[in-house]
């Protein structure tokens, strides 16, 4: 939530990161077997509509030895408002001044090129059914639908395959700059092996819940989610939080109150 939204909420709200997700650049190129390597420049160029065909020099230069077709790129984006679009446009704004100035970042933006579809399913659907298509979806959707996705060049200059490990690495890389309320973007994070289009998924909690039983139950659930729950992330293609961050979050959770009383037992 933005500061403005927080102000409107009427009661103090905490942002609790619970897991990490990656937005991947998925594509449908039947003739290309090797995983495609994309530079930030190429991704921005494609979404700005400047790069129109697959064999454009900006794509070819990072994929030596790969025969790219001369076909047009069918760009796909989310037509509805979504967090996925928020992360992706955040990334584009971070790496491309042109994008930041012309389009900007948000849950729903004015895409200069491509076709829209509703939901992660919809974008995956367009990619899967359209040869020559490229789009951004959550890692889980690409993996579970068997759609190819690209390695992306990160701030360190390495091409990184999106995976739960490389996403956790991105989070670890940005811990140093983590603000106290955890509201931060980890796109284009520094660090070797960090996948650049990553983000936290937050739970939004009221600092105080008036119903004592409810407040305690919520706090206990979140506690579980940050500990045992983390083991369930990877099989679903979401990345677990770095251990160091979980320690920090424990302290935050202890500030939660239920009917004015601490919701969790003292450590």
């Amino acid at each position: 939530m933005s500061d403005e939204e927080l102000g409107k909420a009427g009661a103090p709200i905490l942002h609790i990161p619970t897991t990490l997700g990656a937005v991947v650049i998925a594509y449908n190129l039947p003739s290309v077997k090797e995983p495609l390597k994309l530079t930030p420049d190429a991704i921005a160029g494609i979404y700005l509509g400047d790069i129109k065909t697959w064999n454009d020099a900006k794509i070819a230069e990072s994929n030596p030895g790969v025969t790219l077709p001369a076909d047009p790129i069918s760009v796909a984006f989310r037509a509805d408002g979504s967090g996925t679009t928020g992360v992706f446009t955040n990334y584009l704004s971070a790496i491309s001044p042109t994008w930041k100035e012309k389009v900007g970042a948000g849950k729903s933006v004015a895409f200069p090129a491509g076709s829209g579809a509703k939901g992660n399913e919809g974008v995956s659907g367009v990619i899967k059914t359209t040869p020559g298509a490229l789009g951004y979806v959550e890692l889980a959707y690409a993996k579970q639908n068997g759609i190819a996705f690209a390695q992306v060049k990160n701030a360190n200059g390495d091409f990184v395959t999106p995976s739960t490990e490389s996403v956790t690495a991105a989070a670890a890389g940005s811990l140093a700059s983590m603000p106290a309320d955890y509201r931060t973007s980890i796109v284009n994070a520094p660090g070797a092996g960090a996948y650049p289009i990553s983000s936290f998924t937050y739970l939004l909690l009221y600092q105080n819940v008036d119903d004592a039983a409810k407040g305690k139950a919520i706090a206990q659930y979140v506690w579980w989610a940050l500990h045992d729950g983390q083991k369930l992330c990877a099989p679903l293609d979401y990345a677990p939080l770095p251990a160091e961050l979980v320690t920090k979050l424990e302290a935050t959770l202890r500030t939660l109150t239920a009917a004015g009383q601490p919701a969790l037992p003292k450590a």
Partner: protein, 296 residues
């Protein structure tokens, strides 16, 4: 009444005569135009046949008892069904009918029998006509701003949208069907001293009932396939729900999300869902047609 252009008829002085070049051209144009009309009719039927064949061929393989009695599988898992969507559609259409049919039929009776020429009846008729032309998505926007913004997504909001969509059809067919009842029936009843409300309810409406039922069935068939307004009123739900105050799934919405997804299994399921929906709608349509044939 007169045609602005004269047909190119050859001047003929005496009969019988030989067919001239003009005659042959006229005969040719006649054949060509008639052929074009036949071709157009065939062409118009092609999409219907194509859609039905496609949905049946692709959907039939996934259609099984399991498919009808299970809820959707989480993404990445195989199997799963449309129990939630079937129950949702039945509930949405059922509640919408409970709201829409009584109001629509009574309004139709009022227009045809009670208020017929009054200013108020004209206003009602005019409103129903306008409402009948409002795109269903606009009805959805209205229900969203009027209901969903205050109470959240719910089956009730979806049902209200569908009820508003069916209302004009029910009103219009009821009125039209009642108008077809001969006045002699009304006069005979009134002459026997029967009060008007009784003459209307037990004689006029009863006579027109098959026609009204046909109109109602067609209206129900139409809302069963409505999708657009449900996207932001009923919203959708992967679990079975029968609560009026919670979001609820529906067949049309399931077809939309499944068919636009990337999963080949989901694509087949979308076709199977469409097959179920189309069968339901065709049964209602053909049933309505047979019904009026037999009685009328």
């Amino acid at each position: 009444m007169s045609a602005p252009e004269a047909p190119p008829v050859a001047p003929s002085s005496a009969l019988p005569r030989q067919a001239t070049g003009v005659d042959r051209r006229r005969a040719f144009v006649d054949k060509l135009a008639r052929g074009a009309c036949v071709a157009a009719t065939v062409l118009a039927i092609v999409p219907l046949v194509a859609v039905l064949i496609y949905v049946a061929a692709k959907g039939i393989g996934s259609l099984s008892l399991d498919f009808l009695t299970n809820t959707p599988a989480p993404m990445g898992e195989v199997g799963g069904g449309i129990k939630n969507a079937i129950i949702g559609t039945l509930l949405l259409v059922g509640i919408a009918s409970l709201i829409g049919i009584p109001i629509g039929v009574i309004t139709g009776i009022y227009l045809a029998e009670l208020g017929r020429y009054s200013k108020f009846a004209q206003a009602v008729r005019f409103s129903a006509d306008i409402l009948g032309g409002v795109p269903s998505i606009v009805i959805g926007v209205f229900v969203y701003t009027a209901i969903v913004l205050h109470w959240g997504y719910s089956a009730m909001a979806g049902s209200v949208s569908l009820a508003i969509i069916m209302l004009p059809t029910v009103i219009r067919t009821t009125e039209e069907m009642l108008k077809l009842v001969p006045d002699a029936l009304r006069e005979a009843a009134l002459a026997l001293g029967v009060p008007r409300w009784k003459a209307i309810s037990s004689i006029v409406v009863r006579t027109a009932l098959p026609g009204i039922a046909t109109g109602v069935m067609l209206a129900v068939a139409r809302i069963a396939g409505e999708t657009a307004p449900l996207l932001f009123t009923a919203f959708g739900n992967d679990a079975v729900s029968t609560s009026l105050t919670k979001p609820i799934g529906s067949l049309p919405q399931m077809i939309f999300t499944h068919s636009t997804s990337a999963d080949a299994e989901w694509h087949r399921q979308a076709a199977a869902g469409a097959l179920v929906l189309v069968i339901l709608i065709l049964v209602l349509n053909i049933g309505a047609r047979v019904f009026i044939r037999r009685r009328g």
